[in-house]
């Protein structure tokens, strides 16, 4: 059989392509565990409802809790009436404070104000606070 050799620059390009392909595959194999390591994990609780004992939220008060990894707040404005909202301000993400005396939320970062059902009353926030569905189950309040 006659010997056939490729010109050097073609051989070089071929070898580089092979090296790149193998190297790329290996790098991807190494990168996958790293990506997974850094990805936030599914906490299992996401999507599921959370229960809070009724006695934790006396009328007129505000109870802060963790809802799907973010701060949320539960109110009882009138006896037997419950409201759950995110406590994360829609402006730049600070956590709103409940003003007992005026019955509204104040964001300490840039003075954003929200009503007890989340509507913007003043300040820079561009959108209302998201609310979550609330149901009663015995002496437990179920959110979500």
């Amino acid at each position: 059989m006659p010997e056939k050799t490729l010109p050097p620059d073609q051989r070089r390009r071929y070898l580089l392509a092979m090296l790149g392909a193998v190297g790329g595959a290996l790098a991807a194999m190494g990168a996958w565990p790293l990506v997974r390591f850094f990805m936030p994990r599914d906490t299992g609780g996401a999507g599921s409802a959370i229960e809070i004992p009724r006695k934790d939220v006396p009328p007129g008060s505000a109870h802060f809790f963790d809802y799907r990894g973010r701060p949320a707040v539960l109110l009882q404005p009138r006896s037997g009436e419950f409201l759950a909202l995110t406590a994360v301000c829609t402006h730049l993400g600070c956590i709103v404070k409940w003003q007992d005396d005026v019955g509204e939320f104040l964001c300490p970062c840039h003075g954003g104000r929200f009503s007890l059902d989340g509507a913007v009353l003043g300040g820079p926030p561009p959108a209302p606070l998201e609310t979550f569905p609330v149901t009663l189950k015995g002496d437990q309040i179920v959110i979500g």
Binding site: P33, L34, R36, F37, M39, R41
Partner: protein
């Protein structure tokens, strides 16, 4: 490729990087008869690099607190995605590093590379060897398992054999009369900050020595050169050699791949070699497990302490051996590097190696 070339041109005009690159790659000739043993240094660089990487990942979840450390390691193994992989790579990697450190040391010993003018290369290398062992020792405590706790208790206790200050020394090492949260605190700081920084600095010096001296010609065959220093500094040239890059670096890359394959293989299929059952139980300071043994590379030291009638004598022998090895280039001053012409050296080398091996095996089974 055009923009890349423009950037390089821009830098090159200012810093002359192309000239530097050529001088250290294609223009840097290494001995033509260079062998795979010379690539172990590079293998060590890569393995240490991996230890840094996996160590940083572990640090994101590890908690240095006697109450929480063990549980945090359990979480890394069972909950953190691929946490088990990074932990196994770190554990197996540390053992593999000791293997490669020993091989590197034994090869430069056999080839007489420690001799003039490379005394400082050897000394810094010996320092690196000890640092590597101390990194293993301090890291061993961190999971706060039964194994960690008792191995550290025994290891720090050995310092008690030093006359007069012995018992004080043990307390200083531990930060308290027995191994406890102070010990964990200082071992943690040593393991993750102090010793890695020291290691980096010393590796820098070691590589500087290696590059400045030039790679020694392997002492085999006609062209072997004697170990000599003249009146003035002289870099060892190899005008008939092969380019460091790409010729020798591709051989090194192959060796690196073999060792990484071994690392990954053990991590996947046999990590329990380095994690015996006692590593799976949290430390209990009131309950010593049955057969507490140090890691394989400390077995020789463990057994010498047992052989000698007095602990002090055992420790003195160990210290003597390490000092002898550290100062070897200043003790063994002959010019001859060819093993075939050094029968006494080769005999001591082989017998010494067999002796250490035998004592280690004895220690393992005693």
């Amino acid at each position: 490729m055009k923009p890349l070339k423009m950037v390089i041109d821009w830098v090159d005009v200012r810093l002359g990087v192309r000239e530097l690159w050529t001088a250290n790659t294609t223009g840097y000739l290494v001995p033509g008869n260079i062998n795979p043993w010379y690539s172990l240094g590079t293998v060590l660089l890569v393995l240490f690099g991996l230890q840094f990487l996996t160590g940083i990942l572990l640090l994101m979840h590890y908690i240095p607190d006697t109450e929480k450390a063990f549980a945090s390691v359990e979480r890394i193994m069972n909950e953190v995605p691929f946490g088990w992989l990074f932990r196994y790579l770190h554990v197996v990697g540390s053992n593999l590093i000791v293997v490669v450190l020993l091989l590197h040391m034994l090869s430069v010993l056999f080839m007489g590379s420690y001799k003039r003018p490379r005394e400082l290369t050897w000394l810094s290398g010996f320092g690196l060897f000890n640092l590597g062992l101390f990194l293993c020792l301090t890291g061993y405590l961190l999971p706060w398992s039964q194994l960690s706790f008792w191995a550290t208790t025994v290891a720090t206790d050995a310092a008690g054999a030093v006359p007069v200050i012995g018992s004080k020394l043990v307390e200083v090492l531990r930060g308290s009369p027995s191994v406890g949260s102070e010990t964990l605190g200082r071992f943690f700081a040593l393991h993750v900050v102090v010793m890695p920084l020291a290691l980096l600095g010393l590796i820098g010096f070691h590589l500087f020595c290696v590059r400045r001296n030039g790679i020694s010609r392997p002492p085999f065959g006609e062209k072997a050169r004697p170990a000599r220093v003249g009146e003035q500094f002289e870099h060892e040239h190899h005008d008939d050699g092969i380019p460091f890059f790409p010729n020798y670096t591709s051989e090194e890359a192959a060796m690196v791949c073999y060792f990484i394959a071994l690392l990954v293989f053990i991590s996947f299929f046999a990590p329990q070699i380095f994690l015996p059952l006692d590593a799976l139980e949290p430390a209990d300071p009131f309950n010593t497990p049955e057969h507490i043994k140090p890691e394989w590379y400390f077995l020789w030291a463990y057994q010498t302490l047992k052989i000698f009638p007095s602990k002090f004598l055992g420790l003195a022998v160990q210290g003597g051996l390490m000092t002898f090895l550290a100062l070897l280039p200043f003790i063994d001053r002959g010019e001859e590097r060819r093993p075939a012409k050094r029968p006494l050296f080769v005999t001591c080398y082989v017998l010494g190696l067999l002796l250490i091996l035998a004592i280690s095996i004895w220690g393992h089974y005693s």
